[in-house]
Symmetry: D3
Subunit: 229 residues, 6 copies
């Protein structure tokens, strides 16, 4: 696993924020609180946590067209932001949050593989800090709303071997590529595995799952360290 770090309070304005680094992959996660939930949750007593994802045009080796300029978010962007939102909501009690909305913006400043797993892992920190900010203002109880940690890691089979936290080069060459989202208590929240070349077997998949379990445990430990720092 590459060196992972969390730089909290990276942003002056956001209720919670964190620059997360997985090696050369750097993602800025900010949490923005809105006092009212989305329209379809009005008068439900429940709140919502959602995520948006973006990449700076030159976060990557070749410059990518700016999505704001091309007039729409690509399929990959939408897929990733939906995944981040679902992953974070898996550990949130939306009734305990009450009729509010928290938006986690995950913007990739620099990309080197694993941007979605970094975004989920760092997004949890931003969400945590936002809830803490709210608790300090008696707006909510952090430990009622946030039920557990959530962290994510990619694993893959590369040159016949199971590897964890693939960087861009490994990812491009991997035969199989899987993303795992897991809670602090080891539950699985999301599993997404794709055979890039030949299909994979159940055994291969289980070896990746084992790697991911160890990896997310380590990430959760780092999250715990970060929020008590």
């Amino acid at each position: 696993m590459r060196k992972v770090s969390f730089e909290r309070n990276f942003s002056k304005h956001a209720e919670g924020s964190c620059l997360v680094r997985f090696g050369d992959t750097h993602v800025l996660c900010t949490a923005s609180l809105e006092e009212k939930p989305p329209a379809w949750l009005r008068n439900s007593g429940k709140g919502w946590v959602t995520a948006e994802y973006g990449m700076l045009p030159r976060a990557t080796g070749d410059r990518m067209k700016r999505e704001a300029a091309s007039g729409k978010q690509g399929g990959r962007t939408q897929e990733i932001q939906r995944l981040i939102g679902r992953s974070l909501r898996a550990v949130v009690d939306l009734s305990a949050l009450g009729e509010k909305q928290i938006t986690i913006d995950c913007d990739v400043i620099q990309a080197d593989g694993g941007t979605r797993t970094a975004a989920i892992t760092g997004g949890w920190i931003a969400l945590h800090d936002c809830l803490k900010w709210m608790e300090a203002r008696s707006m909510t109880k952090l430990d009622k709303v946030l039920k557990d940690h959530v962290a994510a890691i990619s694993c893959g089979i590369f040159a016949g071997q199971s590897v964890i936290d693939l960087d861009y080069l490994e990812d491009s060459a991997a035969e199989t590529d899987a993303n795992f989202v897991m809670t602090g208590t080891g539950g699985i929240v999301e599993v997404q595995g794709t055979a890039e070349g030949a299909p994979f077997s159940q055994e291969e998949f289980l070896s990746l799952l084992a790697l991911a379990k160890a990896g997310t445990e380590e990430l959760v430990a780092l999250q715990k360290q970060a929020i008590t720092a």
Copy 2:
């Protein structure tokens, strides 16, 4: 598993087509051949297989806004069509296809859960028939291009029990929901598992995988029957 059927040659114009039914979920899959590949594959000697997915506005219980009218494809649509394309390409030899493109359109005529798994399973038939059409015109060799079957099924944990091929009601109520895409030889091509409520354990996941294995075997048997009919 619900009753599954394939109605081949449903469309007069397409090079291959199939109306696939998984219970009350009905998806029309058509394969359209284009004589040249996408721009980024020109002069590469390789072809491409891609998929598009859509839903008629009243395929569902409540009418959904027409995507053409709202001016963009939603995140869910893009996620599904990317999945269908990847799944089909996993069993295609793009070099053997040569510089051509086959587009598989999967349009949901009626929805009752499992539209993406039906689309992949029926899309394979449309693709097969398109390649057969090409073989009849000496444009390609079907068995060189299409290396294996591919089929997909959803499994979930519903009321504490593992169930297969969830309909809309089961899907809405499921605690965990996973889609599996597997080949005729039992290899895994895609795994997508999501905890809707509580996170799930490795054991639960393995029970779903076992169900999916049996289910896709049955689907592949039905595909074989269909293409020899």
Copy 3:
């Protein structure tokens, strides 16, 4: 005139639905009831009937770009859906309907000329069945709202002769092409005639109108048969 058939209740979910076939042209028409009218009719006591039209990408001989993917509905699509809506409203008493909205979605599953006329003719069946569904729930009186039948047919001059219900090949080669929308009592609701080649004379136009009158009478007879089946 090609063989015309109506397959009612084609869709499990819609309040009214009909797969209409004019030869190889197959259009799925569904009626969706909404409990409130569009914003500009609030508190007017009146309801609204509107239509949307779409074509599956491979309904045609060559695959057409999916409108949802290109991000807008083309001019032809908008022209047709406006025509369908106007035609159906011509036989509806919007005050008797009350503050509700019925949307008729007409999706072309397979095209071989005359999709707009099939859509109007089949759309009437879907609308009828929706109103019947509402009557069964004491929401309205079918015969107060639906004042008459409406049906449509294309006529043209092809190789110097007046022909009715043109298929794609005839339509492409026709010198003159006209669509007629008429009621069950023989009133004209819409006339749209276009000279594709040389302008046409009043006499030619009257010969088309005569053909259309006979054709729509036959279509209305078939509608009557269908709704009493």
Copy 4:
């Protein structure tokens, strides 16, 4: 019929231009020559004539949203510009034009009913003057390319009587509203009739057609006068 006038050479830059007035309806028509045809006509030896239509936001009694700001052309706009293009092409020999494109922009400066008929009638003048401009530069032969006049007029049944060239108030109140596009030799190019209230009969339609015939004859006479002025 309201007072009709043509102000040629209204625009300094266009190859042909005309401000046409039908009473208080004022439409600026400009013809723009492009040295190459649209992509789908390359190497065909043929050219193309097309039209675009727009309305200034305050051309109407109530300000309408600017289409450029709302990000798309409405259905009505597209319907009208397709009609104008078809009408003008009906009197043009595209092979004689050769591989060029002429775009007729019809922009409504002030609207009071009949904008589409004014646009067709004035668009013909702009097209004529563009071809004359080309002839002066030995780029084409005007009388080879432009085979006839084309003019358009609206007729309707209003308060039980057939009326011609309806202004906005008449148009809003008309029971039936039809637009006729006719050539200088009396041929019919387009007919579009719509029952706004009750369906209309063949007799009513024929009375409108007779009115239109007289009206377009008068318009053609005015066009002749204008181009020889």
Copy 5:
């Protein structure tokens, strides 16, 4: 400075309107009154004045793509309409206007340089006439709302000399190009200077400012004449 003229009441429908001509640059300015302010000013007691800008496709030497057809307003359009709105608001007391909105549409009928300065100068007339129209209906007090004149002129350095009111050719060739918006009492509202070639000095800039001062004084005198005509 080129010949400047104002043709008031150019439009039958608008509450205020003016066709302004700066030489061959002709801009139609209309003022449209709405009885309520934009949403963000509800219950503030204040009103709003805003502007939109457009160009007919063939207002220019080469035809430009219609913004409604390309689906968005370009950067230049947005920049100009923001400038017009700011400039007019600089002389309006929005509290005295009360909760209403006036939209100034500036549509370029023919362009020959200086369209934005003509639009501001003529837009002031349209705004004035709209307020006068309101005063006549006891809706407002013209002289409470409209505190001063505002007019705009371009100046530039062309072939080493300071010139005023550049036409298209001068503008294309100018080394430096600046737009000045000034009030009737000589205050500066907006200054926008751009070095097209070499950077300019403070002295050069002051010479342009002096020219602009004289020019806007003249324009204000012409405005005064126009509104008393």
Copy 6:
């Protein structure tokens, strides 16, 4: 003036990059080289320098809607990116650059007033480093292409006093707000002054210009220091 710093080589992938800080305003500027110029410069022997501007949604005190999600770049964004591009091109010899394109992306990570001036000043560093990178690969001569420094600063009148480098609070309250873009040799490239409240006088404007002159001199000195570090 707030504390200004340049962090060069902030991005691993870009040919030149710089995180510029003007107090709490932080903008990431990256330069991306493309081997061919935009289409309209093919075969001209000239290259192009362009800029794009964006803001992370929570760079500001209140979260702003992501432009990629709303489907277009706002007017303010387009205005700013056009300004950055013009400013940088003012000190570039496009013929010496040759047929290449350099895109400067300026993304605001955190905003506190003056983002456009920071972007221009930091964008110059990114451009410089990109040209240096090219020089190291014998692709160009840095000092032939980059003719001078360019830097920008905002000045305003706030509480009756001229102030420089306004932060968000000062900017919101300023009576007058002007942005100046100047070269290393003191030439003016762009001037944009706006009266937010009362119009300003020539004297006030000159006092701002004097401040700006001193400010940009200081910025240029800091740029020199940075590129030799």
